[in-house]
Every structure is written in C-alpha cells, then in structure tokens.
C-alpha cells in the first residue's frame, strides 16, 4: 500500500515532539477523517530553524508530518509557504489515491504555524 519512503518516515518519524518556546504553532483537524496534527516552528530572521510535530492520524499522516518538517527546516518562511500538499506526497514517492487527503494535514498545519508566527510578529 505505502511506498518504502512512507514506511521509513512512519516507522522513524523525524522531528517528533514540541518546541518549548515556539515562534509559532499550528494545529489542524483533517475535515475528511477527523485526524489531527500540531506543528511547532522556531523562526529566526524569517528562516525556519527548527520544526517539531505531533500527529494523531494514519500512517500517511505521520509520514507526511515527518517529511514536511525535513522539507522546511532551513527554509525561509516564504519558501515554506510555497510548500504544497502535492510536493509533500511526491517527496514520499507518492501516496495511495485514497490517502492523498492525508497530505493536506502537514502543509495546512505548517501554514497555520507560519500565520501564527506572523501574527505574533505584528503584535510585537
């Protein structure tokens, strides 16, 4: 069902956890299945220094969460905002059709975390 890359990220997820004092936090629930992801980002000079996540969801949800963190660490927030669900799925060598919706979770949560960061910046 899943590619080797999905299974690798599922069994050995990168960057699981929380960031003590995050620059931004985003949490989304997947409207299709009800699964949940929370993402923490640590931003310095508009560059994403660190990302951590927690996910309640299927194998694809956990794997996309994991690869998403890898894809954006070291990127600028503008670059990170360009990350699409398709790009996430592609980085995992694809997802089964009925699991494409799972890839939404990661990118959406990331975008939300960045929005949270931006809102906090403006509030300063």
């Amino acid at each position: 069902m899943y590619t080797d890359k999905v299974m690798d990220h599922f069994m050995n997820p990168r960057n699981v956890g929380e960031i003590e004092k995050p620059s931004g936090v985003g949490e989304v629930g997947n409207p299709t299945c009800g699964d949940i992801m929370r993402i923490y980002i640590d931003v310095e000079d508009d560059i994403i220094k660190d990302v951590k996540f927690k996910t309640f969801g299927c194998g694809a949800a956990i794997a996309t969460s994991s690869i998403c963190t890898e894809l954006v660490i070291g990127k600028s927030i503008d670059e990170a905002l360009k990350l699409t669900n398709e790009a996430v799925a592609e980085a995992l060598d694809g997802l089964p059709p009925q699991k494409m919706h799972c890839s939404n979770l990661a990118a959406d949560a990331l975008h939300k975390a960045i929005a949270d960061y931006k809102a906090k910046q403006e509030a300063k």
Binding site: V16, G34, I36, R38, T55, F56, G57, C58, G59, I62
Partner: protein
C-alpha cells in the same frame, strides 16, 4: 520474524484438510453437477455430501441449504428475496444499527425502492433491546434481520428471544450468522429463524462460498436468473471446489467446536486482561455475551491505522473496524452506534483469535503492544500532559 495472525474475524487460513478435499475435487471430479454422464454424477455426489455437512453444522436439513458466493450474497439474497416476494404483504423491514454492511446497505437500497426501514439502536455493549424491537414491529413488517454476533465487537444478540417475538408477530426472521456458524453452537431450530447466512472463509474454508439457510415454506425471489441450480434460487454452475471446501470445513468445525471454543475463550480472556491493564484502554462490546475469538479495545489518544501498521511491523496482524471497511475513513459505525465518541472509535483495535494461535502468541502480543502504544501516544497531540 514471528508472525501472529489475529485477524480471524476478517478471514481465516484454509485448513489443510480443506485444501486436500478441494484438490481432490478439482483433480478427480471436475464434472458439472448438472451433467447426465458419470463425470457429472460424481460431481453431484460431492455437492450433496457438502450440503449435508453444512446443514449439520447449523442443525438444518440439506434441502434447506442454498449455496452462495459468500456471506454478502447470502445476506443480500435473504433481504432482497423476501422483500420482493412479500411486497404485497407489507413494506416494512427492521434491522439494527450494528449490522454488517451487507445487511445495512441492502436495506438502504430497498429504501430507494420504497420500503421503510427501521434501524434499531443498540446499548453501550452493542446489544439490541427487546423493548425497541417490540415497539418497532408494525402490521406491515415483513422482515426482521438482526445478526447473531457482531463482527467488530463480538457481542452476541439474543436471537432466540428476538425470533420468538418476530414469529409471534408473523414476520420473517433472518439472522446473519457469518460470525457464529462454526464458532459457537448454532441450531436453526433452536433459534427458530427462517433464514440464516453463513460464510466459509470465516471457518477455515475457502473464500467465495457461503450459504443461506431457507426454512421450508419461506417465500422468496431469487437475486439472479439463469439455469435451474440450487432449486432455482441461485442459478449458475456451482462453485464445486469451494462448496466441497466449505463442506469439509463445516465437518471439521462441527467436530472440534467444543474444544476450540474453550481454548479460544481462555486466550481471549488473557488478551482482554492484558490490554485493559494498560491505562486508558477499554474493552468494547459485551463483557460476557461475546464471541470466544473476539477482543476489541479502544486505546485512547491513538489512531487505528497507525497502530495496525506498527503491529504489522512486529508481525502482528489485527484490524481496526472490519476489514471490508478498512478502505473507508469513517470510524466504525458499530462503535459509534454504541455511543463511543468519534476520536476514541478511531483508536480501536480488533484482535480475533483462531485455531493457529497459541499461548506463546498471546505472550508475544502482550509484550510488544505496550511499547507501541507508548510510542504512538508520545506522538499524539491529544496526549498532552
């Protein structure tokens, strides 16, 4: 790696004696049972021997058994068959919220044809309440279809009592016994039902064959049309190797039932004790009126599929909800009907035991599972504390 198959509710390995009987059938008696010649007559004999064995498993007479392509077709045949034959008498059908999709979806399809369907609710254990049934019966009720035991949570319904009420009312009673025939004692006359579905691949027979018991005198239409096979109730060249395999499986189950039941019950209870000792793990289904092979637990803060995948990496095969719906994203309709909240239903695990499981398998599972649960909980945003 150790492989522990704990998904016997979804399907079972085929018993070696069953394979042997099927090979003998295909190798030596390949004729068409409808043919006049000796090849045909030999095939016919195998067909009727199998019918006797299956009849015996459920206390029926051979001529009351119609072979089908599985439990799903048996359920559909029963429900559509009665509905279409009895339409003039009434248009009301009663079922329960925890039925298999083969029953629920057949009833929903009939709704589109103008039938009225009452779906009885269940209590927290997945049990239908007799008062609800009594209240639902109407003069125009033609059919009540309630499963013998639930495939997901293992709860056994009081079919004997239900049937008594339904028959007193004058309606036809069908029960889906796919999860019970061969696993616990099932006797059509003791239960009193008019129609009963069973399936081969849940009891160490091959997939793709099942049967519908039809009590003599029950009026029903066929689903499909063609040759005169199966007393015109189910046409098409008979699946002889499959039927022979089903017959052999039925014979073995009839023989081994008492012994296997008590062995399964012991293993099941060990699993239940082991799981419920883990914090925030709860048993689903009835604590005592449940299938000897069924364990179903909700593990809070964890999602089912990822749990299954982790178990799979350790060689343990289980399921979350029923296998047939694993392609779907909705949490189990059975657990929701029992009042279990969405995200807890999402984190349910079903382990179903079988002949090939040993005490050592249980040891292994109980050793592996707590770590996995811990790992997944550590990843879960719901498990903040």
């Amino acid at each position: 790696m150790r492989r522990v198959y704990l998904d016997h509710g979804a399907t079972t390995p085929v018993h070696p004696e069953v394979i042997e009987a099927m090979v003998a059938c295909m190798r030596d008696h390949f004729g068409n049972p409808s043919s006049v010649h000796s090849f045909g007559r030999e095939a016919k004999k195998l067909l009727e021997d199998a019918r006797s064995n299956v009849a015996k498993l459920i206390g029926a007479r051979p001529e009351e058994i119609i072979f089908t392509s599985g439990g799903t077709e048996a359920d559909n045949l029963a429900i559509f068959g009665v509905a279409r034959a009895m339409r003039k008498k009434g248009n009301h059908i009663i079922t329960s919220a925890v039925e298999h999709h083969a029953v629920l979806d057949a009833c929903l399809a009939l709704k589109k044809e103008g039938f009225e369907i009452t779906v009885l609710p269940v209590d927290e254990y997945g049990m239908v309440k007799i008062e609800d049934l009594k209240a639902a019966l109407r003069p125009e009720t033609i059919l009540v279809t309630i499963m013998h035991a639930n495939n997901e949570v293992g709860t056994i319904q009081p079919i004997k009592e239900i049937t008594r009420i339904v028959k007193e009312h004058g309606a036809i009673m069908h029960t889906d016994a796919v999860q019970t025939a061969g696993k616990i004692p099932v006797d059509v006359n003791e239960l009193g039902v008019d129609l009963l579905s069973a399936s081969s691949h849940k009891i160490y027979g091959p997939k793709g064959v099942g049967c519908l018991y039809i009590r003599k005198g029950t009026k029903m239409f066929p689903l499909t049309h063609g040759g005169g096979q199966e007393r015109k109730r189910r046409p098409g060249t008979e699946n002889l190797p499959g039927i022979v395999g089903f017959g052999k499986a039925a014979e073995i189950m009839t023989r081994d039932l008492p012994e296997e039941t008590s062995r399964m019950t012991k293993l099941r209870n060990r699993l239940i004790e082991g799981f419920t000792a883990i914090p925030e793990v709860k048993l689903n289904g009835h604590p005592t009126d449940r299938l000897p092979i069924n364990v179903n637990v909700s593990i809070r803060y964890i999602e089912g599929e990822s749990l299954l995948l982790m178990l799979d990496m350790k060689g343990i095969a289980g399921s979350s909800g029923s296998a047939c719906t694993s392609g779907s994203l909705d949490p189990s309709h059975v657990l929701l009907a029992m009042g279990i909240p969405h995200e807890i239903a999402h984190g349910s695990l079903r382990l179903t035991l079988g002949r090939d499981n040993s005490e050592a398998d249980i040891d292994y599972v109980l050793q592996v599972v707590p770590e996995i649960i811990e790992r997944l909980r550590a990843m879960s945003p719901l498990y903040d504390r």
